[in-house]
Each structure stands twice: as C-alpha cells, then as structure tokens.
C-alpha cells in the first residue's frame, strides 16, 4: 500500500465533503419520509451507493409507483457511470480482475473527476491508492451520513421542508453537465417535459422527460453539424 498516495487522495477530496455530508443526511431522511427504516437506508447506500438514484427511487417508492418504473428511473440516472467507466478504464488496465471489481464498486462522480484530473496532470502518483484515498473516503462519509439522516429523520419538523434540499443538490450538479448548446437544449427540454408531465400515470414523468430531453440533445447536435464538445 502506498500510504502517501492514499493520504493525498483523502486530502484532495476533503473540500468536496462539504457538499456530500448534507446530501447524505437528506438521503437518510428521505428514507424515513418514504416510510422505510434504517435497514433500507443502509441497503441503498451500501448496495446502490449512488445518491441521485437513491433519492429518486425513494421518492417513487413513497408515491407507490410501479416497481419497474422505480428500477428504470434509477438505472437511467446511473447510466452516466458507463461514461466514467470507459474514461477511467485505461488507467486501471494493469490491475488484477479482483482489484478492478473493487475499484469499480466505489466509482462515483467525484472519485472519477478527481482521479482523472490527477492522472492527467504531470504529478507522479500511485493510481490505485490515490483513487482509493478519494473513493473510500467518499464511501465512508456517505454511509455514516445516510445512517445519521435515517436516525434523525423523524425528528425534523415538516415546515423545514428538508426534502427541498434534494433538487438543490441536483441543481448544483446540473450546471457543469451543461457543456454546450446541445446539452443546454437537452436540459431545457427534459426539465420542461418533466413539469408538463408531472401528472402522467404510473409516475412515468421522469422517464419520458429524460427520453425526450436526450432525443432533443441528439437532434440539436446533428442539426448543428455535430461539433465535438472537447
């Protein structure tokens, strides 16, 4: 184990924890609000370990949406992990299959962004242990904060409107996802369709909105000649 690289990872991720801690608390509180208990909060955080999809699944379960809609919505939200997996894969190629399985489990937006930025810089670092320093810290903080949120859950008054913190978290992640005109169109169309389709049967609003928004983005890109974002 390269402890220096691990520690550097922990140090680099520390500022991001300011955003993760309230996010994790909200994910725990949302579990209780959906009428579910601590085991579900822990199950989601350990088995799924992807905040946005956990929150969306909890909201749909709370509204008794069909289970297929719950699963499909959560998986669509997590499709972006495919992009991270493809982008980080060359840096992990020399590791054993077992290590790859472990490294993949803790792959998140933040672990991906910090690690790839570090690999691309000139700084010489142990790839595996730097990544683990970032990713395992995020994992541990996520588990602790969702458990704390689930325990705290029922004690928070309704008037505080804590569930409003959820779209605020997504809002902050949405802005960097809008990279150019085409992704901007995808966001505007996806958001608008979601508002208009809020009353759709079976809680299909989000899935339909995502599908229409993605299509609008693809069409915009081909209409404008497919300029590459990078």
């Amino acid at each position: 184990m390269d402890t220096a690289a691990f520690r550097r990872g922990v140090r680099d991720v520390a500022p991001l924890l300011l955003g993760i801690i309230p996010f994790g608390l909200v994910a725990g509180i949302a579990t209780v609000n959906a009428g579910l208990g601590l085991p579900t909060a822990v199950g989601l955080s350990v088995v799924v370990f992807a905040g946005a999809s956990q929150l969306a699944a909890l909201e749909l379960l709370g509204q008794n949406a069909p289970l297929t809609v719950v699963v499909a919505t959560a998986v669509v939200i997590n499709l972006r992990l495919l992009m991270y997996s493809a982008s980080i894969a060359p840096y992990f190629r020399e590791f054993t299959g077992r290590w790859k399985a472990v490294l993949a489990y803790v792959l998140t937006d933040q672990a991906y962004a910090l690690s790839v930025a570090s690999y691309r810089s000139d700084r010489e670092t142990d790839r595996k242990w730097y990544y683990l320093g970032v990713a395992v810290t995020l994992w541990a903080v996520w588990q602790v904060t969702t458990i704390a949120g689930a325990l705290l859950g029922t004690g928070v008054p309704d008037a505080w409107g804590l569930e409003f913190a959820i779209p605020l978290v997504f809002l902050a992640i949405l802005v960097p996802a809008i990279e150019d005109a085409a992704t901007g169109i995808a966001a505007v169309v996806g958001g608008t369709v979601a508002v208009v389709g809020a009353g759709l049967p079976l809680n299909l609003g989000l899935l339909v909105a995502a599908g229409v928004g993605i299509t609008a983005g693809v069409l915009t890109e081909s209409a404008t000649g497919g300029t590459d974002g990078n």
Binding site: A34, A86, A165, L171, I214
Partner: protein, 109 residues
Amino acid sequence: MATNYGPVEIAGVVAVIGVLTYACRLSFIALFGRLDEIPPVVERVLRFVPAAVLAALVLPSFVTLDASSFAADKFVAGALAAGVAWRTEDVFATMVTGMGVLWAIRFLL
C-alpha cells in the same frame, strides 16, 4: 408519502438497482482490452443523459403547472439557488442559498 410496498419488494428493488448500477460501473473497466471505447453512436446518446435527467429531477420541484400546488416560496428559492449554482457550481453554496431563502420566506416574512 409512505410506501405500501413490503420489505421483500423493497429489498428486491434495492438489489436489482444495485446490480444494474454496479454493471454500469464495472462495464468498461472489466472489458478494457476487448472493448476499449464506447461505440460513437452510444456515446452520442449517453452524453445527454446527465443534463436531461438532472433537469427533469430539478424543475418540477420548483415549478408546477397545477395552480393549487404551486408554491411561490419554492419557486423564488429555486430561482435564486439556480443563480448561485450557475456562478459557483458548488453544491454547498447552492444548498445554503436555496434552503436559506425558503426558510426566510416561510419563517421571517
């Protein structure tokens, strides 16, 4: 807002979402050497997933077309938080602004 699903159904949903999410994470990391890059057609679609999905998650919480459930406090708080998110791209600053404005409207005005 409490669910009517039982513990077995909930555990099943968690397991299925977990397996599919892990498959997304492991996919290209495990396949590297055999499948080095996302096929261009797939990548062109995947590129729009975060923007479309996140916007669809966010906007209905700030705006509703149904006049009876439209909440002016959430609309104002959401609009100001969007401004802060745009300028800072910071989760914590966005959350502090949105919740701060919501509470100011609810408890101070």
